[in-house]
């Protein structure tokens, strides 16, 4: 039941270009977040345009309308009652650090603890020959449903996935991988996935087919998932990744950011956006999932079917403010002869910052592209 369209689908088709620009700025009015130039432009326009003025009043009144929709009265405990309830449950499982420290110093626990410490010391410092093999790195696997397998072994409850091993699920199976101590990966049915590497500065999976959902809380560039047509590089996020039997993949980001890369071609995909890949081509252009269907279809033709100028024309015509994500990526992807059209549409949506020129962008000056990206990221 979620509302996917967030644009002005009906309104924008029938209005003048000046109104189009104003309408896109109006949702920022309640914050007073317009630049001086935009504010002056909007003010001048509203003075002579009744339709836009009514629209501006609507946005300015939206917050008040929302605040009238109050929640029902709640039957909540008093603070004292809640504190008693919380302390009863909180201390049962966690305890205070000070209490724990006191408990550990009690004679009842101190003697066994010292014995354990002595054992650990012996294990650490005993004079033994060096082990010829380092321990095999592995992640824990937990069965969620059905009968997932690691190699030839069925996972009944929990198990281990060692570097180099494959985890497979059939149509009725699901499993959860613990990604070292930085997150989890849920492996969906009909999936084949291998642990390629796990070490402090890199954790890497290979998803050959099927689907997975990753939730990672770690610094960027620590968790990687290879697919047959691109590599997903985690930048602190949650996302799903699907790979079909032809090696085509689809990345959908639900939290944070993911970079989808192959052979120097990179797509930056924020929450709410998706990106498809094709073997031999790599990652396509990212798009927000609530973008118009016509834009998404045209983008697929542009990325993977040599759609050229006709496909680009549809993308540009359908693009709204959030689609600057797509347009910014297209700048470096379309043929040089079409780049100017992308630039012109982008400038209609977001004014380039000082120091960013048309000539510079058309010759893909990295500094200018970065500066402009910083400005338009606010709309992603």
């Amino acid at each position: 039941m979620a509302m996917n369209r967030i644009r002005f689908p009906n309104l924008l088709k029938h209005i003048h270009s000046e109104c189009r620009r104003v309408i896109r700025l109006l949702p920022m009015l309640p914050d007073g977040g317009l630049s001086a130039a935009d504010a002056a432009f909007v003010e001048a326009h509203l003075a002579g345009c009744d339709a836009c003025r009514r629209e501006a009043q609507a946005f300015l009144g939206l917050g008040e309308l929302l605040r009238q929709e109050t929640a029902p009265d709640a039957d909540l405990p008093t603070g004292a009652q809640a504190a008693a309830w919380i302390l009863d449950r909180g201390d049962r499982t966690t305890g205070r650090r000070g209490d724990r420290a006191k408990a550990l110093l009690s004679p009842r626990l101190l003697v066994p603890a010292l014995a354990v410490l002595a054992g650990v010391a012996w294990l650490l410092f005993r004079p033994v020959a060096h082990s010829p093999r380092r321990p095999v790195a592995a992640w824990s696997v937990a069965r969620i449903a059905g009968a997932p397998t690691v190699g030839a072994d069925r996972i009944h409850s929990t198990g281990r996935l060692q570097v180099g091993q494959w985890l497979e699920t059939d149509a009725a199976s699901r499993a959860r991988l613990s990604v070292a101590d930085i997150g989890q990966v849920d492996v969906e049915p009909n999936t084949r996935i291998r642990l390629v590497e796990t070490r402090p500065n890199e954790h890497r999976l290979h998803l050959a087919r099927g689907a997975m959902e990753a939730r990672v809380s770690a610094p960027p560039h620590l968790f990687f998932v290879e697919t047959p047509s691109a590599v997903a590089v985690d930048m602190g996020c949650a996302y799903t990744l699907q790979v079909d039997d032809l090696g085509r993949s689809l990345l959908r980001v639900t939290l944070g950011w993911v970079a989808f890369v192959l052979n120097g071609r990179e797509s930056i995909v924020p929450a709410g956006a998706a990106c498809a890949t094709r073997p031999g081509i790599g990652p396509g252009t990212p798009y927000f999932e609530d973008a118009p269907a016509a834009l998404r279809k045209a983008l697929a033709r542009l990325d993977f079917e040599q759609g050229g100028a006709p496909a680009l024309a549809v993308v540009l015509a359908e693009a709204d403010l959030p689609d600057t994500l797509t347009l910014w990526h297209l700048l470096a992807r379309v043929p040089e002869g079409l780049r100017g059209q992308v630039y012109d549409r982008l400038t209609e949506l977001v004014t380039p910052p000082t120091g960013v020129s048309r000539d510079g962008v058309l010759r893909l000056d990295p500094g200018m592209l970065d500066r402009w990206k910083s400005a338009i990221e606010e709309t992603w």
Binding site: M1, A2, I6, F59, L66, Q68, L87
Partner: protein, 188 residues
């Protein structure tokens, strides 16, 4: 846990220091201070009064268990709302109540018709209906901005995204809400 009489109104950071030091009165004060607005936020996320009430208690239980991890100066309200939102999302996932939430909201508002002025009731129903249909991130961003008056940095903390992304989600939420209400809500 000790309990002290709070002589003055503690800031949230001071109260959290008290909670970490074992002061149950500080915990009670925090609960009393935030429970109503927290309930409002949770109610609009899960669409169910009983669940929202349960989640208020659960949120503060998590606050208590995480009391050592709270860092003063980083903003208690966004931290609290982030915990609450994570719990609400977990609840929605586990019970698959996303669609049921919408139904409940509709039923609940219908059952209240006798007690409300019809015009105002219609406004409430329509806004509630439109809100319930928004994608969760837009709904949360809008509620935190318009209802709870958080700034974009704080909204970003709650949603786990950048300040710019929080601004963009609010922007999209406003457009979505405006579009959803367009046929009904006209300004002169």
């Amino acid at each position: 846990m000790m309990e002290t009489v709070l002589p003055t109104v503690l800031s949230d950071d001071e109260a959290m220091r008290g909670v970490a030091a074992g002061d149950s009165a500080a915990l009670a004060a925090l609960f009393d201070r935030h429970k109503t607005r927290l309930f409002g936020f949770l109610y609009h996320l899960v669409g169910d009064r009983d669940t929202a009430e349960d989640l208020v208690g659960e949120t503060f239980l998590r606050v208590y268990r995480a009391r050592w991890r709270y860092r003063a100066g980083t903003g208690f309200t966004p931290w609290l709302f982030a915990i609450a939102r994570n719990l609400a999302l977990g609840e929605l996932r586990h019970r698959s109540v996303v669609s049921r939430a919408y139904q409940r909201l509709t039923q609940e508002s219908a059952s209240e018709e006798d007690t409300w002025d019809m015009g105002r009731q219609e406004a409430r129903d329509r806004v509630r209906d439109a809100l319930a249909r928004l994608p969760e991130e837009q709904r949360s961003a809008l509620l935190l901005k318009e209802y709870h008056q958080l700034d974009y940095r704080e909204i970003g903390q709650v949603l786990g995204c950048s300040e710019a992304a929080a601004r963009a989600r609010t922007y999209r939420g406003r457009i979505a809400l405006r579009e959803a209400l367009r046929d009904w809500w006209h300004t002169e």
